[in-house]
Amino acid sequence: MTADDRQGETVGGLDDLPEFLVHAIALEEDAAQRYDELADAMMVHNNTEVAELFRRMAGFSRLHARDVKDKASGHNLPDLAPWDLRWPNAEEPPETAAQDESHYRMTAWHAVRQALVSERQGYDYYRLVADRASEPRVATLAAEMAEEEAGHVRTLEEWLERLPEPPADWAEDDDPAGAPD
């Protein structure tokens, strides 16, 4: 059994379009919420450049959520609790940026790289669903969404290329939080 096979077994919404749509909405909404959280945290730490970047990502995710909701209109969506949603890594939706990868002195380069990881995971998820779904409408829609995610990945890759890599001491702080007791 390949890794994809194992993941395919744990992914929800493969056989049911409304259930898949619930997953897709949760994926985008969770991503937006996390980006907002990260933006807020960066603002609190006066890292405005990265805050604005995360806020922009949150805006994109909300737009996508709205788009999926439009696609879902007319469908009778099941009421699934967050823990009933089934994702490849089982912990949280694949496009949700890792909270523990952030740092108050992170640069735009770090932020874009973090977002890129999330978007790639989003692409992988939709691709997995498209490949494994037994319901043709799910497979078609998931393939469309995977294409959209592929576009986001390409955009972020371009952004990342334009950004300078941070110096090795980017996390150095003249007044560190971990100062002596």
Binding site: A81, P82, W83, E92, Q99, D100, A177, G178, D181
Partner: protein, 279 residues
């Protein structure tokens, strides 16, 4: 015409968040607890005005400010007595007490034992990062004996850490579980279970401190999800804890102890009390 019953309105997780932005360090595990609380409350459909979050002091204890429910950011280590009083006075409320490992197991350690023993129907969430974060990184009651990063304990605290789940179990908590902020879906689910279980529910949350304990980022590889099999038998739960290294997650114990009932209606009035104090 009757006023609309706002308690029947469907709520989303975002409705439980206040406009105050957390000052936690980016990457702090406590963000996941904040989100889990909002999702759990939304999922249960509990009205903001029927919910109270009570905390002591510390990074984790900032929670009430970030939530759009009733809250008390109180005295160091005293979240549980305040929460107990609130629940007894207003039993219809959903009361969550919360804080960190220092606030809960050191300054408030005695209250922890007796809140478990008393078994009032509330949830106690401890966000454990094994360090005093707000005061800049000193050893806490759950710090390993050889952790030597603090100048106060350059050779490490040299004493074995508390085992919070064992303490809760032997003290009488009616529901005991351990969650990890790196697994927010399960954390949310466990929080719902904790709220729904009668009596004192103790939710021990492994919540990494990225600033003073950056090595805790590795917890995502260390924590064993759903390692506990829930049991109603305290002896079995204790047996399981004998080999617990602190990284087993899941619901350990859900008991059937009677919940502490509010005192009956007062039989004496203020005049009676005044008479007792007459010299």
């Amino acid at each position: 015409m009757t006023a609309p019953d706002t308690r029947t309105v469907t709520r989303e997780a975002k409705h439980y968040k206040s406009d105050v932005k957390p000052v936690w360090c980016p990457g702090c595990g406590d963000f996941a607890v904040l989100t889990a609380i909002t999702k759990a409350l939304a999922q249960m459909g509990i009205a903001q005005e029927d919910t109270a979050v009570v905390t002591g002091i510390g990074c984790a204890a900032r929670l009430p400010g970030y939530l759009n429910v009733y809250g008390l950011h109180g005295i160091h280590g005293r979240a549980l007595p305040a929460a107990t009083g609130l629940k007894l006075a207003r039993p219809e409320l959903t009361v969550l007490a919360a804080g960190g490992d220092g606030d809960g197991f050191s300054i408030g350690g005695n209250h922890f034992l007796h809140a478990c023993r008393r078994n009032v129907d509330l949830v106690y969430i401890v966000m454990d990062n094994e360090v005093y974060g707000m005061t800049k990184g000193q050893a806490s009651p759950t710090t390993e004996p050889d952790w030597s990063e603090s100048r106060l304990t350059p050779q490490g605290p040299g004493v074995e850490p508390f085992h919070p789940l064992s303490l809760a179990l032997i003290s009488g908590a009616n529901w005991i579980g351990r969650a990890f902020t790196g697994d927010p879906q399960t954390l949310t689910h466990m929080l719902v279970e904790a709220v729904n279980h009668p009596g004192l529910a103790f939710l021990h949350v492994l919540s990494p401190c990225v600033t003073y304990r950056p090595e805790q980022k590795d917890w995502k590889k260390t924590v064993r999800r759903e390692a506990f099999t829930p049991t109603e038998d305290p002896v079995e739960a204790q047996r399981v804890l004998e080999t617990d290294d602190g990284f087993n997650a899941g619901v350990l114990y859900h008991g059937r102890r009677p919940v502490y009932a509010p005192a009956p209606e007062a039989t004496a009035g203020m005049a009676d009390l005044d008479r007792e104090f007459v010299l």
